[in-house]
Symmetry: C2
Subunit: 413 residues, 2 copies
């Protein structure tokens, strides 16, 4: 039933950085249903701030929780003290909105249990693909949510970097510097470029769509920081592009990986460019694609405030599902193998050696020669990581060339 | 707040054709929250049916409404008697789920007022892009729903036909026959291929996103049935594809059109193929894309049942917004002009004549000659329909050639 709420919703912010500031600014625009910021938990209450300061800026969480907020908005990031404070709010039966993917990925089961006990919602639309509201939708709609696989681009920073490489011919180093210059990447970019952020988001998506509790560290994760510039060029020659992918399939046992992957140009995610995010869901009734802007502070703040208003209107879905602990397998996929050497072995010898390990080439770039080094990339039919690694080891040993590989997806996946 | 409902939801079906049958079949699978079909309104209660017959199959609507359903599911199609029956249900404060785009497009304002008076929801996720749940989401999330334009592919039948033409080289007639053979197109396909279905869907989308009440007949609507086969070929030569588009922009005054339009290959909708549907929303915080399967009976039934369950769980958004009556303007867009004649005038003369009317060519195909006829297509910079028509009339008069045009969108639109 529709519930009209005309009174103000009183929120308390845990954290008041870029996103908190944007929440405060945007909340002032919600004319039809006022959102009042009761206070904010910050490290240093005396630091000057760029927002109309809430009445209660404090470094004391007990003080803030005692102000009787109708919703706690958790924007601290990281696991502690966020976890303790969210659990405390839930114990007091205060609904929680969080943008904190790390907290959810690592303690989602615990938070969901606490929410179930308290009978209050925990909403987290802003934690993954904040620009595209779909998590709440699928929490409410079991027929639509009957999914068994997902493939997505969840880290805008990595996508920006790989887009610059593929489209503008930047080196990885140049593209990373440009991302930092624009504020898309942190001065220490490891969390994004090593795939940690993406693996955490995949863990949250698996809780949401598959009711599986998967530790992000248990997911096969490769960063884009290990790519070589020549792989970008080779991908183009093979009619595709390298994108930072999160992928999982739980049709039977769970298989998952996070990392840069070769996509043919016809893949639905091949042209999700710059800082855009996208998710492709394989469902019982077809394939769904959601695509939207990567999460800047404004986008995240809008998702947070919409979550707040859903709680105010009483239309929030329940996050209280029981998760099953699970360790993902490494899937069998195609791979893009890249060889580099002073002088590469004959192509036929490479193919023979790989096929002796059950790894069969189906396409290859021409050989390139540059700075006295030869290089070539091959697309091979689906095998698991272990089998591939054995073949690469043999190749390195027998042929004395450098060999590396990233996963490759078919047009349909 | 999350509300757990473990009792059964009792629904009454208005109409029991393909979708009604699929609803009954799928409802039986909802193990966690039973959906019981109390009865169905049909024309002929004695016709044998392919489903476990509900206890109460009747041709008497009063009989069905008296059975005290918790939700009415309206699947009759068309405006009457659907409108009367839905209004009657709302007067009795029975929530309504409908898949009926015609009813909404033509009587949406009246139904929303009745729903507001009764304080019960009317849900219609199945009416437009049934395979992609997004309407309910945006009804609940004002910040995400801060949109000012939309561009979509809303008619799966037309998209299937144009995909066959563009990708497989079918003629329009062959592609239509194939769509009919597969059951995608009705024996009388007018509703789809003349753009009526798409214009009704655009009217529903404008109610939803812009709170505007636009009569579908007032929207500039062109069917794909007026396309010529050579336009498909010319579009490819210009690096693009023709897609069946619904488009509206209400940044200032409302502009809208429905019809086949040229899209460059880089447009986000250029590769939405076969019976797939998609919607691109221009919002305050970026561009959102939703893409999914076109509406078969199963897809529609799933959307209907998810709506039913949202009503059961108390998380349904309100449809009770006030609409403002509005007549759309015809937008200024690029156009794809196609000329055909025994012998076309010199290209420079064509460009001169068009430019005298303020219509400036920016790209053109080479001329083709076939069966003693010459043809050529031109892309021209944005102008309104009236200005274009004047230029085409002058061209027809002065040059004695057949000239037709469809709209064209830039990569960004």
């Amino acid at each position: 039933m529709s519930i009209c709420v005309e009174t103000s919703i009183d929120i308390a912010l845990l954290g008041c950085g870029n996103v908190g500031t944007a929440v405060a600014r945007l909340a002032a625009l919600a004319a039809d249903q006022p959102v009042t910021i009761l206070g904010a938990l910050v490290r240093d209450p005396n630091r000057p701030r760029d927002i109309p300061v809430p009445p209660n800026v404090t470094s004391d969480p007990a003080h803030l929780l005692a102000s009787n907020p109708s919703v706690i908005v958790e924007l601290l990031g990281g696991t502690e003290p966020a976890r303790q404070l969210v659990l405390e709010a839930l114990e007091r039966r205060i609904p929680v909105v969080t943008a904190n993917k790390s907290l959810l990925a690592r303690h989602g089961a615990e938070l969901r249990e606490a929410a179930a006990r308290a009978g209050v919602p925990v909403l987290y639309e802003a934690a993954v693909l904040a620009g595209v509201p779909f998590l709440g939708t699928f929490a409410r709609r079991p027929f639509a949510a009957d999914a068994s696989s997902l493939t997505g681009i969840a880290n805008g920073t990595s996508n920006f970097i790989l887009t610059r490489c593929a489209r503008d011919g930047d080196s990885l180093a140049t593209a990373l510097a440009e991302a930092q210059r624009r504020g898309y990447a942190e001065p220490d970019p490891r969390n994004d470029v090593a795939g940690i952020d993406a693996a955490e988001k995949l863990a949250v998506l698996l809780q949401h769509f598959a009711s599986l509790d998967v530790h992000p560290d248990a997911i096969e994760t490769q960063g884009i920081d290990l790519l070589m510039d020549l792989q970008t060029a080779h991908a183009r020659e093979l009619g595709g592009v390298i994108k930072p992918i999160v992928h999982a399939d739980w049709t039977s046992a769970l298989e998952a990986f996070v990392g840069p992957a070769f996509l043919p140009a016809t893949h639905a995610l091949a042209r999700v460019d710059d800082v855009e995010n996208a998710l492709l869901l394989g469902t019982a009734r077809g394939r769904l694609l959601f695509q939207g802007p990567g999460a800047g502070a404004d986008v995240t703040a809008a998702a947070v405030l919409d979550d707040v208003r859903e709680i105010g209107a009483g239309t929030a879905p329940s996050a209280a599902r029981v998760l099953r602990g699970c360790r993902p397998d490494s899937p069998e996929t195609e791979w893009l193998i890249t060889l580099e050497s002073g002088r590469l072995p004959r192509a036929a010898d490479v193919a023979d050696l790989l096929s002796a390990y059950g790894v069969f080439t189906h396409r290859a770039t021409p050989r390139r020669s540059r700075d006295g080094r030869e290089s070539q990339s091959l697309l091979v039919w689906p095998v698991g990581r272990l089998q591939l690694e054995r073949a690469l080891d043999a190749l390195r040993g027998a042929a004395g060339c450098a060999a590396s590989a990233i996963r490759a997806l078919g047009a349909a996946a």
